[in-house]
Every structure is written in C-alpha cells, then in structure tokens.
C-alpha cells in the first residue's frame, strides 16, 4: 500500500478490483465502509464473482478473470477522451511530457518494438527517453516531419541506426541468460510540457489505450459496454470539470498479481491513479492488500531469491567486483535539465556496505569489497518458486527446508510438487499443524507399496504459533509492530528462530570441524557470519531487531543532521546516517530508524491522531522513516500547497524553507518547489512512470492486454498474439496446458472470509463456518449440466482433477465475449482444503488441494504463478 488502512477513510471514490477485502481483509474494509458512511464515498467493485465486497458496491461489474488490463486501459482511455485527469500533476509529477526515442513501437499487433522471436523476449533498447531538454512547442513541427511513433516499417530503419542488440547466447537445456546491462537513461531527457509531441509519453499512452474502447473492453472482459461506461463515468467523476480536490483510491490484491500479466495489471492501475493525480494523497494511492501477516516484511527482508534486504539487488555473474555491482545497481538521475531529482537509490553503496557489515562484521573489509564474494550470484538462471519445484522435479534440487510454507497446497500444479518431493533426498518442515507438504508421501493415491519406494527423509519439527513468539510483523501499510509472546510453546515444540539458529550453528560447527576436508566447499561465509547474540542457540529477537536497525561502528559526524554526532556503538536514528565506508552496520536500511537508541519505535502504542487523517504517527513505526503515505509530496501542487486543504498531509513552509506536515514528508526536506524536484524520489527521473524505460518491465513499457495462458478465447486485440510474448510455459511432463475445446470453463480461485489459506482447516470454529470444498457455478451452467446445488462434481484441468460439491449460484453470471451471443460460463473454487485438515477424511468428499488444477506459469516480472485464471471442465461425479 502506498497509503494505509485507516487512510482509506479519506477517499471520495474507490475501485476495488483484483481483491475482495470484505472477505479477506474485513477489519481493513471497515475504512471503506467508513468512507462510504462518513464521506458518502462511492465504491465500484470489479470481480469475476459477485462476492461479499460487491454486496457493498454502488456499482458492480462482473469481469472475466485475467482481463483487468482491458478494463483499466479502457478507464485510462475514458479519462483521457473525456478530459478527466489531473493536468498539473500529470505534466509535472510524471513522465507524461518525456519524449521517447524514435524506433519505439506500440503493440498494435501484440508486440512492442525490440522483440526477439528466437529468444522469446524483448531487447528494450528502443524503450528509452530521447535526449535533449525542453522541446515544448515543437510538436507541430514534429508532426509535420512525420515524426510520430514508430510503425513496423520505421522500426527497421530505426533499429538499423541504433546499436545492435547485444548477443544473447542461449545455453541448450538452460533458461536463456538475462539481457546484459542495458544502456542507461539519458541524463537530460527531452520533454514537451504541452504534452502534444507525438512521441511524448502522454501521446503514446493516449494512442496505446485509444484501442481500449468501451466496445473492445466489453468484448474482452464480458462487461456490457454501457455498464463499463457507467463505471468509468463514476470513477473519473472525481476529475470532472477540472476538480483537483477530490481523491480516489484503488484497492487490489492477488486477483491481479496472480496472473501471467499480473505486473502489468498493477501498472495499469498505478498509471490510472497517476493520471487522476491520486498517488501520494490522503485517500488515494494504489493499495495492495497483502494476503498474509508478514509477507510485506518477508519481501522487505528479502525472503525471495532475487533481492537482498531493503530491495537491494542480488549480484549477478557479470558483477566482477563491488564496483561493477554498484555501478549496475546505483542509478544516476535522468530528468529534464531544468528539473531536480532526489534519486534516492543513489545511496545504494551506503545501504549495501552497511548490510555487508551487519552480515560479516569485521570480515567485511574495504579490502575485500565488504566480502562481496561471499554473496551467491543469480541472474543467469531464475530461482523462483516454480523453478525450485521444477528443479526438484528434475532431480537437481536435493533438499528443502520449509518453515511454515506448505508448498504442496500452495501449488501451482500440486501434483508436480508432490512428485518433485518424491525425488528429493531430504525435507525439513517446521510447522505447527500436520500439513500436506510434510506428508506428501502419504497423499491421496499413494499406496503403502509406493511409500516404500519414496526415499525422501522427512523431518517434521514442531514450531511456535504466533502467540508464542515475539518480534515484528509488517502490515500492508508498511507498519512495523512488535508483538509480545503470551504463552510458552506447547509440549516439546520450539521457537522457530531457535530451531533455525540451532541448525545453522550445527552446520557451522561441521564446517569448522571439517574445513580442511577436501570435500568441504567455501566455508568462509559460514564461518565468518556474525552471530554474536547473547544466546546464539535462541537469539533474543530484540537483539536481532537492533541489529537490523543498525548502529554506528565508529563515531559519526554530519552537520546537516540533528544531533550532528553519533558515537560508535549507538543505534542509528535513520538511514540518512548510513555510510559506504564501513563505519555503519545495518541489516536492512529500510528498517533503519525502527529501533534507535531511545528504544523500539515498533513497540509504540500511542493511538493519537492529531490530524484526524488516520496517520497515527506514534503507533508502531512505518518504513520509510515513519512515513505513512508514500510520495506524499504529490499531495501538494507545484507551489507546495495541498490539493485539498481539508486533507493536509504535508506542505512547504515558505518561512522555514522546509517541508512540514502531519505526516513525515517523503521528500528532500529542504527542496524548494521552485527547484521542481519530482515527488517520486525512488525513480531516477524523480517523476512517476507512465512509460517504463528500459529493462524493469520484461513485457513492455506500457501495459497491454494479454490473455491468460489458458483462455476461452483468442485475444480480441490481436488474435495472433493472444498471450504475452514473454511468458514461458514449463517443459516437464507434469506441465500440461489445456485448451477451451476440452476445458471450456474459465476458473478462478479465491479465499473465503471464513478461512485463512491452508491454516484454519485445523480450527474447528472455522471448519464449522464452511465445512466442505465446493465449486461455484452459474445457475445456467448447472442447468445445462443437470447439476443441483450440493451434487458432487468432478472438476478437471489439463493437470489433474478435483472433487467437490457444486454451489449453484446467481452470483456468477454467464458472460458474452467477443461480441458473440455464445455464453461462456465462469466458475470459481475456494482454496482452503487439502488432505490433512480437520474435516478431511470425511467420507462424503475427497479432500485434495485445489491447486492440483492450477497451471505452472508465471508473470515474467514478479514470477508469481497464474492461480487466478485457467481452464477447467466440470462433470457430475
């Protein structure tokens, strides 16, 4: 979330799409209700099902799963066509005015410029800004010169002029290596403040989405065109007649993320919010509702393969040394010469050095590049979730340690994961309940004889529940909150971190003992890792939290800060103090400031909210530096005055020459508005990106609608390029993909409010609320298949089959797609069951994970699997 839960109450207009917060975040949803009751805010819900959030909506549209870019693109088109967008904001706070190089081509045929058919990916060289400063007023001349965006012909010419794409050598049998470091952004970009230059981002965007007419939206999504227009009219009404006071929010969740086009769905929403001038404002923003208590924290802390704590990048083989790594990962500002850019990532060297000092202490020296070589390299290969199971299935991955992560149930393609585990040598599961992964060897269909053949050694270690652990979680709004342990672990169960620590210490002991054994490989990082906790076998989490916050390793001085001095050994008050010379240590720069010398900020429990905007600055602590709304500079106009004086977050104080506010300004505190520093300080441009230049997005600088990998129709925009050109199918015999002739029903999966993932199936109370798995289907489909509510049905996909009961409902309607009269029947399945739950084993229903059905295919940017849209067939069982 750029904003926060309570902040939703400040909004005037809400779009909830790709999420179902009434069911999955009910206590956060209260602020949606509050906005409706107190501000009379309007709510539009777009979802494949009329769910409980929809029951609260002023307007509901039933969309076909996976077509969200079409809806949102249509929205952008509607806003631009009807002149309902925030002009000052768009011109100054986004890259709308930036001019794109010649040779860039929009995907009328489904492909952006630079597609390499052989490699199946883009060379993004043509996705870049033009160099050259202010060209305002030259638009007419450019048009006269035929200087429009590229066509198929012009691109060939342009490519001829551009440096040739770097050669990519594909190693047989291995995924292709990633593109080499791309050419950088031009430091002085060309721009046209009139937004009329045919190659300016705004015009390109306008052109890109002009194809998303209400009719086209309807053909793709199945939402009747008039209903779409009604929704678009309502949503954009906040910018009617040049109004800049009102504000709207977008709330989404994994209904977007879990698609092969998921990142671009989110991007389209973010673009729409920028277009409306909603980002950075109270009651605005783009608000991802994370589905779990601490996966925001797990991402911040880099629990995933491709980042290090604080979103630092993981080294790649090409990073020969620290300098090369820092050069690649530290952006230089790229902006119009007359503008300013904070470019906060320019501090990367400080964050990185401090992180390495925290990891390796004295072993991280300037001479050894802060032990840079201790870090494993990635980049030539992908190590994401589905790749892990793929490698294990292929016998390459021999062991797995899973702490509270039920990979079999989580899927996708659960049977592949089960079969993969059969090939592993060992598996360590730390859990609090019996679950599917640790007992994969006894999953349905495996006989005793089969079990004898499974050679995997499985350790099931009893861990601690939330009430038994202290420590911090980070919520969706980036709040770090300490929690206290209430009870001891039951029986012989142990604290998770104590289990992890004992495993690590035992491994370290082995490496210490056998470091001269020729078989022993590279023991140095293990032996040199700092583990100086008072109780190494069960580290106190307060010690760990303090280490994460970071401390001064030498006396520090900085005249610009108050106080200007910090002594060696003291906890640091914020990341502005971090150094790249090894005099600071910090486990995660984003959390620097969470535990300063004065004590933990994450333990603060003062619910005061002086501004009444739901900022609650003294409750817990939020990264970065306790800012509750990110990019809040954008809540003010060019003069530094709030767009809406009744919702003042920050403002520029002319008297002091500094930014002040109810919230902590997410900005350079002394940057005068006249300097035109962009509010999006993490981008080298300083402004928000409608157009993403170069490599960050693998599938295009603009979003484009692509069908889910399994889709009932061909993409109406470009039937010959139906799916995203960069999405790859997996190759093993377990990775099968279905077509609509055999599997005619688009299926989506979701949670119910009564259950939590694969967890509450152990809780009698929740099992009582919803006892059995089911598939929801439209009445019309049920009539066609002669299925009654409660009948047992067999749902099958190309991967596997799933048995459950039918819930026949009015809440899902058949869809008309592609302008045809033929009906498509969407269905949906809640995810919460498996084969080791409380109600499992009841004879009336076979219990299996629903992810037996879902396909192994991922978004090319976030590597998140497409759980939300695939094809199934349904028969009466």
């Amino acid at each position: 979330m750029t904003n926060g839960w309570v902040d939703i109450k400040n909004t005037d207009m809400m779009l909830i799409m790709g999420g179902n917060p009434a069911e999955n975040h009910p206590c956060g949803f209260k602020w949606v209700v509050e906005a409706r009751k107190v501000r009379n805010a309007k709510l539009v819900v777009v979802d494949p099902r009329f769910q409980r959030t929809a029951s609260q909506a002023d307007l509901f549209c039933q969309i076909r799963a996976g077509t969200d870019v079409a809806f949102l693109g249509g929205l952008i088109n509607y806003a631009i066509q009807n002149n309902r967008y925030a002009k000052e904001y768009v011109t100054n706070y986004t890259n709308a005015a930036f001019i794109i190089k010649k040779g860039f081509k929009l995907p009328e045929d489904g492909l952006f410029s630079g597609y390499d058919t052989a490699a199946g990916k883009y060379n993004p060289a043509s996705w870049n800004y033009e160099e050259g400063g202010n060209v305002t007023g030259t638009a007419a001349a450019a048009i006269a010169a035929g200087d429009g965006p590229a066509t198929a012909e012009s691109i060939a010419a342009a490519n001829a002029a551009a440096p040739p794409p770097p050669k990519v050598v594909a190693v047989p049998g291995k995924p292709a290596p990633p593109p080499p470091p791309p050419v950088g952004l031009p430091p002085n970009t060309a721009y046209d403040l009139s937004l009329e230059h045919p190659r300016c981002v705004f015009q390109l965007m306008k052109k890109q989405f002009a194809r998303y007419t209400p009719d086209m939206v309807s053909k793709i999504t199945g939402i009747p065109a008039d209903r779409f227009v009604k929704a678009a009219d309502l949503l954009t009404s906040i910018r009617k007649d040049g109004d800049t006071k009102k504000v709207g929010t977008i709330i989404y969740s994994v209904g977007w993320t879990q698609h092969s086009n998921g990142s671009q769905m989110i991007r389209t929403a973010a673009m729409y919010q920028m277009l409306m001038g909603n980002i950075g404002r109270a009651g605005g923003g783009i608000n991802a509702l994370r589905g779990h208590s601490n996966i925001q924290g797990a991402t911040d802390m880099a629990g995933v393969f491709d980042i290090l704590p604080g979103y630092l990048k993981v080294p790649i083989p090409a990073d020969a040394d620290l300098a090369a790594y820092l050069k690649r990962t530290t952006p230089t500002s790229a902006k119009p010469k007359e503008w300013d850019s904070f470019n906060y990532w320019s501090n990367t060297p400080k964050f990185f050095a401090s992180f390495m000092k925290a990891m390796y202490g004295d072993a991280a020296k300037k001479e050894n590049d802060w032990a840079f070589n201790y870090l494993p390299r990635i980049g030539d290969k992908r190590f994401s979730w589905v790749d892990q199971w793929d490698a294990m299935y292929q016998g390459k991955l021999k062991g797995l340690i899973a702490f509270g992560m039920n990979g079999v149930s989580i899927g996708p393609n659960s049977q592949k994961n089960i079969d993969a585990l059969k090939k592993a040598e060992w598996l360590v599961v730390c859990e609090i309940y019996p679950e599917e992964t640790a007992e994969f060897w006894a999953s349905p269909g495996i006989t005793k004889e089969d079990q004898a053949k499974i050679q995997t050694e499985v350790y099931r270690l009893p861990g601690a529940g939330f009430a038994e652990k202290d420590g911090t979680f980070v919520n969706s709004a980036r709040w770090l909150q300490w929690k206290w342990a209430a009870v001891p672990t039951p029986g012989n169960a142990r604290l998770d971190h104590a289990i992890l620590a004992s495993i690590f210490l035992k491994v370290r002991e082995l490496y210490q003992k056998e470091k001269d054994d020729p078989k022993t490989k590279f023991p140095d990082p293990i032996l040199n890792l700092t583990w100086a906790y008072s109780n190494p076998a069960s580290p106190s989490l307060t010690e760990v939290a303090k280490e994460i916050n970071g401390k001064a390793l030498a006396d520090l001085k900085d005249e610009k800060q108050t106080p200007p001095e910090w002594k060696a050994g003291q906890q640091l008050p914020g990341f502005a103090w971090l150094r790249d010379d090894g005099t600071t240590s910090c486990g995660n720069w984003l959390y620097c400031g969470s535990w300063p010398d004065a004590g933990s900020n994450t333990q603060r429990r003062n619910p005061d909210d002086p501004s009444g905007l739901g900022i609650h600055p003294t409750w817990g602590w939020s990264w970065p530096m306790n800012r509750r709304v990110m990019y809040n500079r954008a809540s003010c106009n060019m003069e530094g005055k709030p767009w809406d004086p009744s919702r003042k977050q920050v403002w520029f104080n002319e008297a002091t020459g500094k930014w002040a506010g109810n919230d902590v300004p997410d900005f350079k505190p002394d940057s005068n508005p006249k300097d035109h520093m962009g509010p999006f300080i993490m981008n080298p441009e300083g402004v928000g990106r409608f157009f993403v230049p170069l490599a960050p997005m693998a599938d295009g600088p603009f979003p484009e609608h692509y069908e889910p990998i399994e889709s009932p129709i061909k993409n109406p925009l470009h039937p010959n390029q139906s799916n995203s050109p960069v999405v790859k199918k997996m190759k093993t015999d377990m990775d099968k993909y279905g077509t609509s002739d055999k599997f005619p029903y688009p299926c989506t999966t979701y949670r119910l409010t009564e259950h939590y993932h694969y967890w509450t199936k152990n809780n009698p109370m929740n099992v009582q609320l919803v006892p059995e798995p089911f598939v929801e289907m439209p009445e019309e489909l049920a009539a066609k298949l002669q299925i009654k509510g409660g009948d047992k049905v067999k749902v099958s996909s190309a991967r596997s089959t799933y048995y459950c009961k039918a819930m026949v409902t009015k809440r899902i309607k058949p869809l008309k797609l592609e302008g045809k009269d033929e009906l498509v029947y969407p269905v949906g399945i809640p995810i919460h069951w498996g084969y080791r739950g409380l109600g499992d084993g009841r004879p009336d229903n076979e219990r299996t994970p629903v992810n037996l059905l879902s396909p192994t295919v991922v978004d090319p940017n976030a590597f998140t699997p497409e759980f939300k849209g695939f094809l199934v067939n349904i028969e009466k069982a």
Binding site: E23, R52, T53, Q768, G790
Partner: protein, 304 residues
C-alpha cells in the same frame, strides 16, 4: 444500574412485579444492526461462540454461505444470507439473526418457570438455565424463533446480549468483533438516532424505502418504529428496504402469538378466578343445602 450488576425489571413465571424493580434510573441498551454495511463475514458468529465457550458444531454444505439453517442452542448468532435480483442488479442481503431482546418478550410472557427468564431494566432478556424447566413454552412465545432447546441438558438457550459483559461494563462480544461497524451498541435513544441518520443518508442516495426495523416501539418520532406489537426491540435494524422485512427473513409484523397471549392473559385470570369461584360456589352450596340426607335413616354407616 450500578456496581456492575443489572437490575431486574421482569421475571418469568413470577407472581407480581420483580421485587424492588423500578427504583433506579432507567436506561436502555440497544444493538443497532445496519444491514446495509453487513458483509456477512461471520465475525459476530465466531465472537459469540468463542465468548460463550461452546463446542464445535458439525455442519454440512447446503448450497449457501450461511453457516446453518437457523440459530442453535449453542449458536446464538447467525448471519442469514438472502440473494435477491432486482432491476438494478444483484443484491446479497445479509442479516445478523439473534435474540431481539423485545421490550415485551414473548418468551418471558410464555415462560411458566419462576426466574428462568428475566428482563433487566436495561432491556436485556436473559435466560437462567438453573431455573429453566425445559418446557419450551418460550419457543412458542417467541415471534422470531430464537430460543433453542438442548436435548441433553433439557434447557433452553439463547443470546444473552452478553449480560456478563454488559454487567461488567463491556459491550457484547458480537458488537466488539464486527469489522465494518455494521453492529453498534449504545443506549436505545442513541441507536435510534444513529439509525435514523443512516436511513436519511440511504434515502438521499436513492434507497427510497430505507428504514428502521424496531417493531412496536411506542416512540412517536416518525420513522424510528415499525409495525409490530412487542413494544420495540433492543436490537434494531437499518434495512435498505424496510417495506419488505421479509426479504431479510424478518417478520413484517411481529407479535407474541395470539394463543400465548390468550393463555397467559385472559385464560390465566379466567381459569384462576373460575377455580376460586367454583370453590366458593361449592362451599356456598354446602352451607345452604348441607349433605344429602339418606332416605332411610343412617343405618348404612359402617360401625366398626
């Protein structure tokens, strides 16, 4: 009400007024259920069972999101899900079903057992299982089908409006849990005010039939009472369509069943007086006419 206790206003099966009642200042508590903001999350269902400590109840799939068909002796709070299709699209009406804590409670009226049902001066109607005799007359007296019998303990149970919590100065468990604030708790006066405010907003937003469900409340303020003859309830609803409470599975005109009223009212008095009158008449007859004489002396009297 003071010192964390609740004062009793009415007692079932009890002769005369509740002793000592009516001396302290009166203030009514009330639950406001704004069905227009209910998301059917069932937090109140869980909070209720958790607070009251009841056991897991086996349920089965019934082609609905509703947990069970109706409340149970150990499941006092149930969200009823009603799907409706109107011209403006799908409507999913969710309503929290629980004891309404009537001002004139049919259960208490019907109950013959002294002290099995009490009404506190704040409006809570509470069952005391120690005194319950399990006759289930309360079931037949209730216009909302709320009291439920436990065959194992032979007692009847229902929502207590968390009298233990309210008596100790806390709000009921369901109220506290409700994520959207669809449930609200306070004095009846305040809840009627809040409800009216919300209804006005709904009407302004085009829900012309929005209204309050507060059956039989004698309050003359327009719009805060609805048809019924139970003297108002201590659970009131805001409905999008108050003209058709049956869409929410609520009775349109709830009242204590006629026969319960006849039996607990006229019949009780006629019967009682009739018995007394009968005794008096017989005594009078005896005094006037004496015993019947025998025709032929008294020789038949047994002499032993």
């Amino acid at each position: 009400m003071s010192n964390g206790t609740l004062e009793i206003k009415a007692i079932s099966g009890h002769s005369g007024k509740a002793p000592g009642s009516g001396v302290s200042r009166d203030y009514d508590v009330c639950k406001l259920v704004d069905t227009t903001t209910c998301i059917g999350c069932k937090a109140c269902e869980v909070a209720c069972v958790e607070w009251n400590g009841y056991e897991f109840r086996e349920t089965t799939f019934a082609n609905t999101y509703q947990t069970m068909p109706e409340t149970a002796w150990n499941f006092w709070n149930l969200i009823k899900f009603n799907e409706m299709e109107t011209d403006s699209g799908m409507q999913w009406l969710m309503r929290k079903d629980q004891c309404m804590h009537c001002e004139e409670p049919g259960c208490l009226i019907a109950c013959p057992a002294d002290g099995a049902i009490v009404q506190y001066s704040n409006g809570i109607v509470d069952f005391n299982q120690a005194n319950c005799i399990g006759c289930q007359y309360c079931v037949s007296g209730c216009p909302f089908n709320i009291p439920k019998f436990n065959a194992a303990t032979k007692k009847v149970y229902k929502c207590t409006l968390c009298s233990d919590r309210v008596g100790a100065g806390l709000e009921p468990a369901c109220i506290k849990s409700c994520p959207t604030g669809c449930l609200h708790f306070g004095s009846k006066e305040d809840m009627k005010f809040e409800a009216k405010k919300r209804v006005d907003q709904l009407i302004a937003n085009g829900h012309n039939d929005a209204g309050i469900y507060n059956p039989g409340d004698p309050d003359p303020t327009p719009g805060v009472s609805s048809p019924g003859s139970i003297g108002g309830t201590h659970v009131i609803y805001v409905l999008n369509d108050a003209k058709h409470p049956e869409n929410y599975a609520l009775p349109a005109d709830p009242s204590v069943p006629l026969f319960v009223k006849l039996w607990k009212g006229p019949l009780k008095w006629i019967g009682g007086l009739g018995m007394l009158a009968g005794l008096a008449a017989l005594f009078g007859h005896y005094v006037r006419y004496g015993p019947k004489p025998l025709d032929e002396g008294d020789e038949g009297r047994r002499a032993q």
